[in-house]
């Protein structure tokens, strides 16, 4: 791996080729706020909160730190006036959609949003960052949930808005959700169980890590002892800790 040098906020840093600006900054202890970024999934650049200023020859432009590759010799400003202004407006826009999300309220306070100037459009907890759908697709490999609709009508849901047995209620989506919007696992599991004829699979059987073992905890995922043990051992949510190869039983 080639080593490169770049400048972030006036500090000259060393980074590996193939890293993003965000990764390079995090390694150096520079904080850039993020909402839709999670190290378990590929960056999508959808919330745009990690916007930073890229000082090029002649003109500067705004790019998202989570997707822009760290290149040799680039100069990045993570806290310039333009960046702050942009982040402030982004937070205001998000708050108009989700006024009661603590993480947004906190970030908004940090960026100096005093009172809401924009009309409240909705009152939701989902900021449509897409982490849940990504983790479901990329890490669990099932795509049980995905985006439905387009533009402002976009929501995260099951296909045809009906619960289906591809979702094993593994809880990975609840774990990565930055706002805590997806959290009603127990309720959904109860609903699932009420549907006759649905055989839910344990994620350990599904993933081949523990075979043919009945769940002693009555399918209450994320509360079962295997989950707890895995998390204790790996320090991460079991759904994310299990590698792709392991899941495929190789």
């Amino acid at each position: 791996m080639k080593e490169i040098t770049l400048t972030i906020d006036g500090r000259e840093l060393k980074a590996q080729e193939g890293m993003t600006i965000l990764e390079a900054a995090q390694e150096a202890g520079i904080t850039i706020p993020t909402l839709c970024y999670h190290k378990a999934v590929s960056p999508s650049g959808s919330c745009r909160l990690c916007t930073v200023e890229l000082v090029g020859s002649g003109k500067t432009r705004l790019v998202t730190a989570c997707t822009y590759p760290a290149e040799q010799g680039i100069v990045v400003k993570t806290n310039s006036a333009t960046v702050k202004k942009t982040r402030k407006m982004l937070l205001e826009l998000l708050l108009a959609r989700c006024p009661n999300v603590p993480i947004l309220q906190q970030l908004a306070r940090d960026y100096g949003v005093e009172k809401p100037r924009l009309k409240k459009i909705k009152d939701e907890d989902c900021i449509l960052c897409g982490l849940c759908t990504q983790v479901c697709q990329e890490r669990m490999g099932v795509s049980a949930i995905n985006f439905v609709g387009r533009g402002v009508n976009r929501t995260v849901d099951f296909p045809f808005e009906r619960m289906w047995d591809v979702c094993v209620a593994c809880g990975a989506c609840t774990y990565v959700c930055p706002t805590g919007h997806i959290q009603n696992e127990a309720h959904k599991v109860a609903q699932l169980k009420r549907q006759l004829g649905i055989q839910r699979k344990c994620r350990y059987m599904l993933m081949g890590a523990v075979s043919n073992k009945l769940c002693p905890h009555n399918y209450e995922c994320w509360r079962c002892e295997y989950d707890q043990r895995t998390e204790y051992r790996l320090g991460e949510h079991p759904a994310l800790a299990l590698k792709l190869a392991q899941r495929q039983g190789r």
Binding site: S46, Y68, M89, L93, R97, R117, R150, G151, V152, N153
Partner: protein, 644 residues
């Protein structure tokens, strides 16, 4: 038809075809583009066929349905060759007359000729009509000479000679150099230098590379790509094959909207014919080059016209853009190097190869070369597709080609570049049309939509309309585009409804700035253009809406009232009978009064009031005068009708 095995065979074939064709033989060409089809041109062509059969002229007269001629305002268009006599607005009932007079007796049917609305002069030939006379139709000109379902027509006009030249006389590097030197820039909107794109893609690591035609034209009021693909699909195919050879690609995609059924149909026919002749498939023209084209039909999302979203859609997923910090020429579809160009860009390639880069670079301006097709629509006399050299002024396009504004109204603004473009006011109408000039004015070239607006257009409402479109079409992936457009739309809607507040303009500007700078793809980055450009040039209109609650153009329903002027009303009962909500009171010899409480502001009374009375008036920004008291409503005097 056996596949052609060498360039010499193509030359022989063309000679053979030319020898077979009698240039003196009369040929009736009927425009069969989408515009003319909407005017029922198909019934005209069947009428011609029937009439010719009836008269027994099948052996002496040809009938040909061609692609769009461009002059859609006057469709269906019929051009009779070899004299090039052009008839406009032809109806099936005119067919017999055309055949008996023009074909049999060589006379001209006067009432079907184009009449200049200003001078009253009649134009016999297509080239005499001002609409055509002031254009330079390099790419689009062949449309009217070609039956899109017949490859022979294209070959006769020199088609596929650029391909044979590229394959046998040029190396891929030479082709790229030629395209680079020509200064051709992408016609889809971004204006990226095509040659540079090709070069980067050619040098990108990887064996598998793709070339793509972007025919996902979704701008309201724009249909140049559609007409080109419908009318002359082979020119696009030829450009694509040349590009594939230059880049080193063996698979190409045509992403065409399912909403363009005729384009889809004609592309499939063209692909089949090109394969039969050996222009596609293995060993093209005996050169050993192999190339296949697949057609992908888009499911109808405006955002899929954006290159990365289009590639995502081609991969079979939902058409959503992805970050392009690593260019698509390095990592496009399935992470393979991919070159995506617009329909019109590809169609320009054969011209450059045939005529050389120098010739092409001599047309246009410093930064933008060649010609550009615009779809000229809106409040303009000659609606249609126009092709002009880059650098032509907006005034030339709107007045000399477009024939000015109908009904003698005043020009107000022109919206270029589709919904993401900006509005250019009258004071800047002399600006030349080129990529950089339009961007500097806060608009953009876009794919070439040009919507002309007259004095009756409210600019706030226009901005609201375009944002409404974009709010529907935003994919919703990134925050500034999804939420920003929605917020701007909310504010604009409030302004047009008379609920605007002080500070709204500044707030709009602030949101627009963030949407422009922070959005993921070009849709979001340009979505603020309609708002920013209308604020820049028509700020006074915004202020009138917000502070005076007045709509200067009289468009915003919440801010206007209809009022019947008592001194002008002649109690003719027309508006009273036509009012859908029964809001007009009155009677015979009784002045009509609008009950403002019941009025739904549909504007029917305003439209139906005879022009000689013009009693109905739009009032905006001030209260409606109190109704005339009942006792004063009777019209006493009335002139007795003159007896004849």
């Amino acid at each position: 038809m056996a596949r052609l095995q060498s360039p010499a065979e193509l030359v022989d074939l063309r000679k053979h075809m030319l020898a077979k064709r009698d240039t003196e033989r009369p040929c009736i060409t009927i425009c069969s583009g989408t515009g003319c089809r909407a005017y029922a041109s198909e019934t005209v062509s069947t009428a011609f066929e029937k009439e010719i059969k009836k008269q027994g002229l099948e052996d002496t007269v040809d009938v040909k349905t061609t692609g769009c001629h461009g002059f859609c305002e006057k469709g269906p268009l019929v051009v009779i060759l070899p004299g090039e006599i052009c008839y406009v607005q032809v109806k099936p009932t005119d067919v017999a007359q055309i055949i008996s007079q023009t074909l049999m007796e060589n006379k001209i049917v006067d009432h079907l000729l184009y009449t200049d609305p200003v001078t009253g002069e009649k134009a016999v030939h297509e080239s005499e009509i001002p609409f055509y006379k002031n254009q330079t139709r390099l790419v689009f000109g062949n449309n009217s000479k070609i039956d899109p379902t017949n490859i022979d027509d294209y070959i006769v006009l020199g088609g596929y000679s650029a391909l044979s030249k590229a394959l046998f006389e040029m190396t891929p590097e030479e082709i790229i150099a030629e395209v680079k030197n020509s200064g051709l820039r992408g016609r889809g909107g971004g204006g990226f230098p095509t040659g540079r794109k090709w070069e980067e893609c050619r040098h990108a690591p990887g064996d598998i590379k793709y070339v793509i035609v972007n025919a996902d034209e979704g701008d309201p009021g724009a249909y140049m790509d559609r007409s080109l693909l419908e009318g002359n699909p082979h020119s696009v195919l030829e450009g694509l094959i040349v590009g594939a050879y230059a880049i080193g690609s063996h698979v190409g995609y045509i992403y065409v909207r399912e909403e363009y059924p005729l384009a889809v149909e004609n592309v499939f026919i063209a692909l089949k014919q090109a394969e039969e002749y050996g222009f596609l498939g293995t060993n093209i023209l005996g050169s050993g080059f192999e190339f296949y084209i697949k057609v992908h039909r888009g499911a109808g999302a405006f955002v899929s016209g954006e290159s990365s979203a289009l590639m995502t859609a081609l991969e079979g997923r939902v058409g959503e853009p992805r970050p392009k910090y690593i260019h698509t020429v390095i990592s496009g579809i399935w992470d393979k190097p991919s070159t995506l160009n617009n329909v019109e860009t590809w169609a320009n390639v054969p011209l450059i190869i045939t005529n050389g880069a120098e010739w092409y670079a001599s047309i246009g301006t410093e930064g933008s070369k060649g010609t550009k097709i615009f779809s000229l629509v809106g409040k303009v006399n000659n609606t249609g597709l126009v092709e002009v050299p880059m650098g032509t002024s907006l005034r030339d396009i709107i007045y000399n080609i477009g024939g000015g504004i109908p009904e003698g109204k005043k020009f107000k603004a022109v919206q270029t570049g589709g919904p993401s473009g900006g509005c250019i006011p009258e004071s800047l109408i002399d600006s030349p049309v080129d990529f950089d000039e339009l961007s500097a004015l806060g608009s953009m070239m876009g794919s070439g939509g040009m919507i002309v607006m007259d004095e009756d257009t409210c600019m706030v409402d226009t901005a609201r309309y375009f944002l409404d479109f974009l709010a529907d079409e935003s994919c919703g992936k990134c925050t500034p585009c999804r939420e920003g457009i929605d917020q701007m739309l909310t504010i604009l809607t409030h302004i047009t409804e008379g609920e605007g507040q002080d500070g709204d303009i500044e707030l709009l500007e602030e949101i627009a700035e963030v949407t422009k700078n922070a959005s993921l793809c070009a849709l979001g980055q340009t979505a603020a253009n309609p708002v920013l450009s209308t604020i820049r040039y028509f700020r006074d209109e915004y202020e009138a809406h917000i502070t005076e609650k007045r709509c200067p153009a009289g468009v915003c329903k919440a801010l206007i009232s209809y009022y019947i002027q008592p001194d002008k009303c002649k109690a003719c009962l027309i508006c009273l009978k036509n009012c859908p909500s029964g809001a007009i009171a009155g009677g015979k010899k009784q002045i009509h009064i609008i009950d403002q409480g019941r009025c739904i502001k549909c504007g029917i009374c305003f439209d139906v009031c005879p022009q000689r009375f013009s009693a109905v008036k739009k009032i905006s920004g001030r209260p409606v005068p109190p109704p005339t008291p009942i006792e004063a409503r009777t019209i006493e005097e009335r002139k007795p009708r003159r007896k004849q």
